[in-house]
């Protein structure tokens, strides 16, 4: 019972906090660009607005189009169960490991790509094709990252990743590779651009172009949560866990602050990259992810050498 409670708590945390992270990154970007920009809570307003609006569904679409938002949000939340957030092991760590996480994300992506084809708009097809292209290139690099980390810590279970003391070199290299992967997976510059609706450059946005209202809200929420899941994984890789247990309340509070600060640091880095980078051509993304792959190989070699 306590376990189910922890899982629920974690899921609610993800649902409530994930939009904030996106707003936070957008705010940093706006500040760096000397813009005033929208408030930090804008994603919440967007979600509230979308939930209260009527929905338009294409007449050519089938049940795949209507069912996909649920598949996307369910798979993303299922992946969120696998991440250790405030306790040391994930609340549902017996459900699956790091590899299973990749497959669970793939489930949501599969339905998203199908839904994009369903409306019969060329943009949807374009987005679907590009998304599957990017994700199939992400897969080998991600596999290397998982293997490097797992070789270092002796298991693919996410809960064992990360240590108390110094961070091994392999984890740092793997984390850089993972950062590139996260940029591609969360459709950020230079691979994709969340802010544009220019038809020829968008990937993720092209896939969800036909969605509106509540369905769009679910998909947006899923993207926020997915981003947060990745950030937590990256934080786990590159920062020491810190504290073994709660000794005093003040220490516990300090630890939670440190935990959140790490996410904030990653958010700032991602925002800086987005501000500094220009959008790549789609086929340059192959080089970008090829670089992540090479970093992954280096991480594996480091892990084999035991450093």
């Amino acid at each position: 019972m306590a376990k189910i409670f922890t899982v629920l708590l974690q899921l609610i945390f993800f649902i409530l906090a994930a939009p904030f992270l996106s707003g936070f990154i957008a705010k940093i970007k706006n500040n760096l660009r000397m813009r005033k920009g929208a408030g930090i809570f804008q994603p919440y307003y967007n979600l509230a607005k979308l939930f209260s609006k009527a929905e338009v569904v294409s007449e050519t679409a089938s049940w795949i189009f209507r069912a996909s938002p649920f598949a996307v949000i369910a798979s993303t939340l299922a992946a969120a169960c696998l991440i250790p957030v405030f306790i040391f092991s994930a609340p549902m760590h017996m459900m699956g490991d790091f590899l299973a996480l990749i497959f669970i994300f793939a489930l949501g992506r599969f339905f998203m790509a199908l839904a994009a084809l369903d409306a019969g708009s060329p943009f949807g097809g374009m987005g679907s094709s590009r998304e599957m292209f990017i994700s199939s290139l992400v897969e080998p690099a991600l596999c290397l990252v998982v293997f490097a980390v797992a070789l270092q810590f002796g298991s693919t279970d996410i809960s064992v990743i990360g240590g108390m003391g110094a961070v091994p070199v392999s984890s740092v290299v793997a984390a850089i590779a993972l950062l590139l992967i996260i940029i591609a997976e969360t459709s950020r510059l230079p691979v994709d651009n969340q802010e544009t609706h220019l038809e020829l450059t968008m990937i993720h946005e092209a896939m969800i172009l036909e969605y509106s209202g509540r369905s769009l809200a679910l998909i947006e929420l899923a993207s926020y949560i997915k981003q947060m899941v990745w950030f937590f994984l990256l934080a786990r890789l590159v920062f020491p866990i810190g504290l073994a247990g709660f000794i005093s309340l003040a220490q516990g509070a300090g630890w939670i602050l440190w935990y959140l600060a790490r996410i904030a640091v990653i958010a700032v880095i991602v925002a800086l990259i987005e501000v500094a980078a220009a959008k790549m051509r789609l086929f340059r993304a192959a080089d970008f992810l090829g670089f992540a792959f090479v970093l992954g190989v280096i991480a594996v070699v480091c892990a084999i050498l035991g450093v």
Partner: protein, 611 residues
């Protein structure tokens, strides 16, 4: 007599029984399916022939996996190949079938020739064709001979399995057979070659050097990649796409088998059993979902009369049930949880990880790179099946073929339903399947597995790694379903109206099927990114009325098969060249022929004299 036969001719150990189960599990629904499929498609005489051949086919496959005598094996193998040849040329009115049949029969006999050579060498040492006699003889066989036998067996069985570069016949032959046979050929027949590799290389020959496993791994990784990238490019024929995907999946199965061989030679029995379980699990999974997908493709063909997916689209509304079955098959083959393909691909990746964890030195990196290849293949497979399902079933119909399409008959749906249910069952009951497969792997490798445990309660667990690794497919399924239901409930809580309207077309209000994305367009990014392998050819032509007005635009693209271009065409050219040379000594002159006879007789007498 019966007892004698059972003892001397047949062998029903767990490995054979496992393959018999695989054969039954696909053949049964395919046979049921063929009731509806054959009706109206062929004349009643041909239907009788088809049934006869089907029984012969299934029976010979069963013989192949259950005899205990290399000679009987070869006979059964040959009959199996011939019967399947008749199925390839079953639609003999198409030129394509005849051509496919020719390629198939040439390749399969080339493979059989290698097998025959291997068996004869074995017989030379064992003085018997009995499996166990050969097995005993192999214990004392020189390493060199063992290596030669291994290579012969690998080429021989590899041809049937479709390992690159011997896969060339597979995408021709499988699509041409009637769909219920395609499903058996892709689902089961090519697996008999995997049986051959496990039975003859692992069980009889015994893996003696570590390069065997490495060679199989490299070939398997290449097979995975080549198979799926060609499947992804294939847009004109859905059955050809599935056939190429079979090549990929054979690669994944062989990754498991190759890993097992590698670990046996490294002296890591636990991992060898684990890898073989992964390979065998993927084998039965592939039999199930590829059988299912071929049946679905057959239903689409039956309903529309075309296999060209560029001409299809919107079938989900016309054939809702077939669409669901195809979707389940596509999800399973893309390794999506909680279906069966996910479990076996996860196991294979885990086998790689545990291998990398326990192997020494450079082998670690080798295994990790192989695993990365597998991951790339997985990503491409998902893209391939998004394309296959999305273009065939979703959006608007692209041609008149779809307009009159109807849901297929009950017997056909029953076959598909059975296999769809199995994909779910084999996903959820992973622990049970692994328990059974442990026995099969133990029988195949001769390793005692009593002390090995691969699962605890309902969770798969690996005690070989320092820390436990968990995977619970039922739990994943439960979480997904619960979260899906909850989000659906939340969605329905805010009751807002949903209106149905046109697809947004940037202000263009007549979006039609011509505006849809096509399969060729879908695969374009892959064609460009992997152009080093695919060697794409592209030609565009504008036909202008005036300088300013383009009347029509033609676009042509295709990819070049590197294997055909650099291996098969040179070999064929060489054969023709040598045939031309040989023609010179056969000019048709009776005098010359008489002198040949004289010369031969003379040489023979000389030869006899010498001994």
């Amino acid at each position: 007599m019966a007892n004698f036969l059972a003892k001397q001719l047949f062998l029903f150990d767990p490995l054979s029984l496992f393959f018999l189960v695989v054969i039954c599990i696909v053949s049964l629904p395919s046979a049921v399916y063929s009731f509806g499929y054959l009706k109206g498609e062929y004349s009643s005489k041909k239907i009788i022939v088809a049934w006869f051949l089907l029984f012969a086919f299934v029976l010979t496959m069963a013989l192949v996996v259950s005899v205990r005598n290399a000679f009987a094996f070869l006979v059964a193998w040959e009959i199996m190949s011939l019967v399947s040849y008749f199925f390839v040329v079953f639609d003999s009115k198409h030129d394509k079938s005849i051509q496919a049949g020719l390629i198939y029969i040439v390749m399969t006999h080339a493979g059989t020739a290698f097998l025959t050579a291997a068996f004869l060498i074995m017989h030379k040492y064992a003085h018997s064709f009995d499996f166990f006699a050969i097995r005993n003889a192999c214990q004392v066989m020189p390493a060199q001979i063992k290596n030669i036998i291994f290579l012969l067996l690998l080429i021989g069985f590899g041809t049937k399995a479709g390992i690159v570069p011997m896969h060339i016949w597979l995408p021709y032959a499988h699509p041409q057979a009637p769909s219920h046979i395609s499903s058996i050929m892709s689902g089961v027949m090519i697996k008999t070659a995997i049986y051959g590799i496990i039975r003859f290389v692992i069980f009889i020959l015994g893996v003696s050097s570590s390069w065997w496993g490495q060679l199989v791994l490299v070939l398997a990784a290449a097979t995975c990649f080549a198979g799926i990238i060609y499947a992804l490019m294939e847009g004109n024929d859905i059955k050809r796409l599935l056939a190429y995907s079979s090549v990929e999946n054979i690669g994944i199965i062989l990754l498991g088998v190759g890993l097992a061989m590698f670990f046996i030679s490294m002296g890591l029995p636990y991992l060898a059993v684990f890898s073989l379980i992964a390979g065998l699990y993927h084998l039965i999974n592939h039999a199930i979902f590829k059988g299912l997908l071929f049946l679905c493709a057959g239903s689409v063909y039956k309903a529309t009369g075309t296999r060209d997916i560029e001409k299809l689209g919107g079938l989900i509304k016309k054939m809702p049930q077939t669409a669901v079955y195809f979707l389940i098959g596509a999800m399973a083959i893309s390794a999506l949880p909680p279906l069966n393909g996910f479990v076996s691909e996860w196991l294979t990746l885990q086998a790689f990880f545990l291998g990398a964890l326990n192997a020494a030195g450079g082998a670690k990196l080798f295994l990790v790179i192989c695993a990365a290849m597998l991951a790339l293949t997985g990503g491409l497979a998902a893209a391939c099946f998004v394309k296959a399902f999305g273009i065939t079933f979703l959006a608007l119909p692209r041609s008149h073929y779809v307009v009159n399409a109807k849901e297929v008959s009950l017997s056909m749906r029953a076959g598909m339903l059975f296999l769809s249910a199995l994909t779910v069952i084999f996903g959820l009951a992973a622990v049970l399947v692994i328990k059974i497969l442990t026995k099969v792997a133990a029988a195949a490798t001769g390793i005692d597995t009593n002390s090995m445990s691969f699962q605890l309660n309902n969770f798969i667990l690996n005690p070989q790694s320092a820390k436990s690794i968990y995977l619970s497919v039922p739990l994943i399924a439960l979480v997904l379903v619960v979260l899906g239901i909850v989000s659906f409930a939340v969605y329905n809580l805010c009751r807002k109206k949903t209106q149905v309207s046109q697809t947004w077309g940037c202000g263009y209000y007549r979006l039609g099927p011509r505006n849809e994305y096509t399969a060729t367009a879908f695969s374009k990014p892959f064609r460009i990114a992997f152009s080093f392998f695919l060697l794409p050819y592209r030609k565009t032509q504008k036909i202008r009325e005036t300088f300013y007005h383009v009347k029509s635009f033609s676009y042509e693209t295709h990819t070049t098969s590197v294997f055909k271009k650099y291996i098969y065409l040179p070999v064929i050219a060489w054969i023709f060249k040598s045939a031309k040379f040989m023609r010179k000594i056969q000019p048709g002159s009776i005098h010359l022929y008489l002198s040949y006879i004289f010369l031969t007789a003379f040489l023979l007498i000389m030869f006899m004299n010498k001994f």
